[in-house]
Amino acid sequence: MSDISQQIKEQIEAAIANKTPLNIIGGNSKSFLGHAIDCQNLKMAEHSGIINYEPSELVMTARAGTSLEEIETALNQHNQMLPFEPPHYGSGATIGGTIACNLSGPRRAYAGAARDYVLGTKIINGKAEELKFGGEVMKNVAGYDVSRLMVGAMGTLGVMLEISFKVLPCLPAEITLVQAMSADDALRKMNQWAASPLPMSATCYINGKLYVRLSGVDSALQAARNQIGGEELNDSKSFWFQLREHGLPLFKKAEKLWRLSVPQTTSPLSLDGEQIIEWGGGLRWLFSDSSEEEIRNITKSVGGHATLYKGESPTKNVFQSLDAGINKLHHNLKHAFDPAGIFNPGRMFNNL
């Protein structure tokens, strides 16, 4: 654990002076996501360590390079967790990379995304200024929510040095129920159950079966179990872990993987290839060789957006392109934070 913020700042100052853009790297576990960029590396992994953790305040502050593993171990000792259940995608995964990519796992539809738990950040902007936004308190409306703006910006607006986030107690028990049904039925059920007070914490439809995870006190799980039905899965933890980390066989053999974010009630999408449905219907993993145009158009027509998670794109677009007005705001904001364009240029969108 060490504080190398001075060194980071100096490298940024040099990058600004020499007009040499930087590629921000934490544990390098998310290098597959977004466009590859050919720039000098700004290494964050050494800038690590938990700075403050107050279990009774439900808050932790850590340097961006702190590994998710270290954070989860510390939380576990106090029976607490990162509620958004982030995927690691590799042993070196850091909190900075996770927040920069806004990555959330199976619990996302029921507990919120990474962005929902961020309370504050310390960043260095593109003028090499160290700035602090938000803080360690749950409610804070002083100034614009720059901390949340950093979440999912993939490092294009600034370098996060420290992140403060809300954590939650682990729930006492957990079971997973499995039953066979059609995709249409599964989507209807997932949404109907989400509209009633049931202790659901994850859902997945894969290979003709619906998996529902319940988390809470034992007595509540037993009551919900009668309502939901299905067989109890023996190795619940391992199933959700494999799903989260893309360790299931479908993910392993895929050369091209699309992530489709759609409204939860969207009927099964008529696209060639296999699909895994998560997040109560809101997330569809698509293993398909269909044309990019077809995939993007169909996803957009239902009110969603498609990301090429793994594999090559002939158009070199990873993310769904932005509408003109929104695109203009992105460029204005990029200029507001990184006028010299030195942070991860092109990682998310061309010219950004």
């Binding site: 107050e54 009774s56 305040e57 919120g112 995304a113 929902d116 003028k127 200024e129 160290e130 700035l131 936004f133 803080g135 360690e136 308190v137 749950m138 409610k139 804070n140 409306v141 002083a142 100034g143 614009y144 929510d145 720059v146 949340r148 703006l149 979440v151 999912g152 910006a153 107690p169 006492p172 209807r188 949404n191 509209a195 009633s196 007070p197 049931l198 202790p199 809470g216 006190v217 007595s219 509540a220 009551a223 919900a224 974010s261 409204p263 939860q264 997040w279 809101g282 009110g303 969603g304 957006h305 990301t307 509408d323 007005g325 929104i326 705001l329 992105h330 204005n332 507001a336 934070f337």
Partner: protein, 499 residues
């Protein structure tokens, strides 16, 4: 008063006379949707913070998005500043008009456009009242979670602009956690959709940036909110303590035990007595503090947690713990808390409500210092506290008719906010900065951070026409404020020239 003129240097000058502007508006709006006579303008001179008043030049009340776009385009072309207003219940002067500006009221946007019970979403116009959404969703077993105490009157557009909270934030989040999409009109008059009906959107999180931006970045003309299933059961415990610190420790003990209550509220002696006199909630009048702890969720879980929390409260030194025996008593327990502000209004000619957030562990220290400040300024304080999430609402009791008392109250309030920052908290948890806390922004943020905020504003509104002068102070304002409040001998904003 002086305070309403704070930050005045940030206001642009219009290129058009009032008369010419009126003609342009009257060209496409009905006569009763363009107000310009003194007596018609008067009701708009303030929002929920009535200490600050200014009569606007013109009030417009459009009823379609196209009309809003036309109003804004005219303002943009003629460099006229625009202040958007919802229900006008805000407590920080965020909707305080400008003498040479247009007040854009969204009061006519009152329709719930669609409720999708399966998707658990509601698409509503910005003037829809917060509580009206939950009322409409109730038939489907759903509700909208954020519940600011003004929920009977405040509108959802204003809730988004302020990122409103309420008593259930710890478990269910703020407005930012409970909305999916916005339609906004930019200062150029362009209609944009921010966010979407899927769980996330490509690009930057503009939805988060818009939420709580206090009308500085765009005008909200439609909101899509998430609805949650109404909990199967809610149960309230009331615990009385003979010592505020014990009550504070009990709050930490509950959360450390792994319980996240739906609501966890604290009131101190003066607040208890005022509330009890007003609504007869049955609060113990001799207690130094009471805690209200609401546990909600599935039936079995609530049963287990009620006994767990009861034990924690008793072990934590509560002199009395009551469980509401039925829905009627639960409503009564809450009634006292929800009526705390008007109750304090009954025992004092005026009161000033502060809104700092602090780490919970600092509560005893902060309360001690507030008590000592209260003596210094010779003004009583009643404390109401969203204990679960650390949001403190000290109510300073004063009499505006007594010479200098308002000024003394404002200074006292400012000191409380600075104290919140000192212990690692913030100057506003849920009411917003608006006009009221513009000076304290200089305490919380340094000049580079404020400059970054101005750059964000510039990205949306390069001429600074949307609600100018609010939320983010100019550096010159901070230099002037800092000159009055030199901290530890360090002159803040040393890089600025002094005159």
């Amino acid at each position: 008063m002086n305070s309403s003129e704070k930050n005045i240097d940030a206001i642009p000058d219009a290129n058009i006379s009032k008369q010419d502007l009126l003609i342009k508006f009257q060209d496409f709006l009905p006569n009763n949707a363009v107000l310009h006579d003194a007596e018609d303008l008067r009701p708009y001179e303030c929002d929920g913070l009535s200490a600050y008043r200014r009569v606007p030049m013109i009030v417009v009340l459009p009823s379609t998005i196209e009309q809003v776009q036309s109003v804004i385009k005219i303002c943009f072309q003629n460099n006229v500043p625009v202040v958007a207003r919802g229900a006008g219940t805000g407590l920080s002067g965020g909707a305080l008009p400008l003498e040479k500006g247009v007040l854009l009221s969204l009061a006519k946007f009152k329709s719930i456009l669609n409720i999708d019970p399966l998707a658990r979403t509601a698409r509503v116009q910005p003037g829809v009242r917060n509580l009206a959404i939950s009322d409409a969703a109730k038939a489907f077993g759903l509700y909208y979670a954020p519940d600011p105490s003004s929920q009977i009157a405040c509108s959802i557009g204003g809730n988004v602009a302020e990122n409103s909270g309420g008593v259930h934030c710890l478990k269910y989040g703020l407005t930012v956690h409970n909305i999916l999409a916005l339609k906004i009109v930019t200062i150029e008059g362009e209609l944009l959709t921010i966010g979407g009906i899927s769980l996330d959107s490509p690009g930057f999180d503009l939805l988060a940036l818009m939420t709580g931006s206090e009308g500085m970045l765009g005008v909200i003309v439609e909101v899509t909110v998430r609805l949650l299933p109404i909990p199967e059961r809610a149960q309230v415990l009331l615990a009385a303590f003979d010592d505020v610190e014990k009550a504070g420790a009990a709050v930490s003990a509950i959360i450390s035990a792994g319980v996240i209550p739906g609501g966890l509220e604290m009131m101190d002696k003066l607040a208890i007595q005022a509330a009890e006199d007003f609504v007869h909630a049955g609060y113990p009048m001799d207690a130094e503090a009471i805690l209200l702890c609401e546990l909600d969720g599935v039936n079995e879980e609530v049963s287990e947690q009620v006994s767990q929390v009861r034990k924690i409260l008793t072990e934590g030194g509560a002199v009395e713990v009551r469980t509401a025996k039925d829905e009627q008593e639960r409503a009564l327990f809450w009634k006292g808390r929800k009526a705390a502000f008007p109750a304090v209004g009954r025992i004092s000619p005026d009161y000033y409500c502060m809104d700092g957030t602090i780490p919970r562990k600092s509560l005893p220290e902060v309360l001690r210092k507030i008590t000592s400040l209260s003596k210094d300024y010779d003004l009583p304080v009643a404390n109401v506290f969203h204990a679960g999430d650390g949001n403190l609402h000290p109510l300073i009791l004063y009499d505006a008719n007594k010479d200098g008392e308002l000024e003394r109250t404002e200074e006292f309030g400012g000191k409380i906010l600075e104290l919140c920052v000192e212990v690692g908290g913030t100057i506003t948890g849920e009411h917003g900065v608006g006009m009221e806390k513009i000076n304290q922004m200089c305490t919380q943020f340094n000049s580079a951070e404020l400059t970054q905020f101005h750059a964000v504003k510039h990205a949306f509104d390069k001429n600074g026409l949307l609600n100018p002068g609010k939320a983010v102070p100019t550096l010159h304002r901070c230099a002037e404020f800092g000159a009055m409040h030199v901290h530890k001998g360090e002159l803040p904003f040393p890089e600025l020239e002094r005159f």
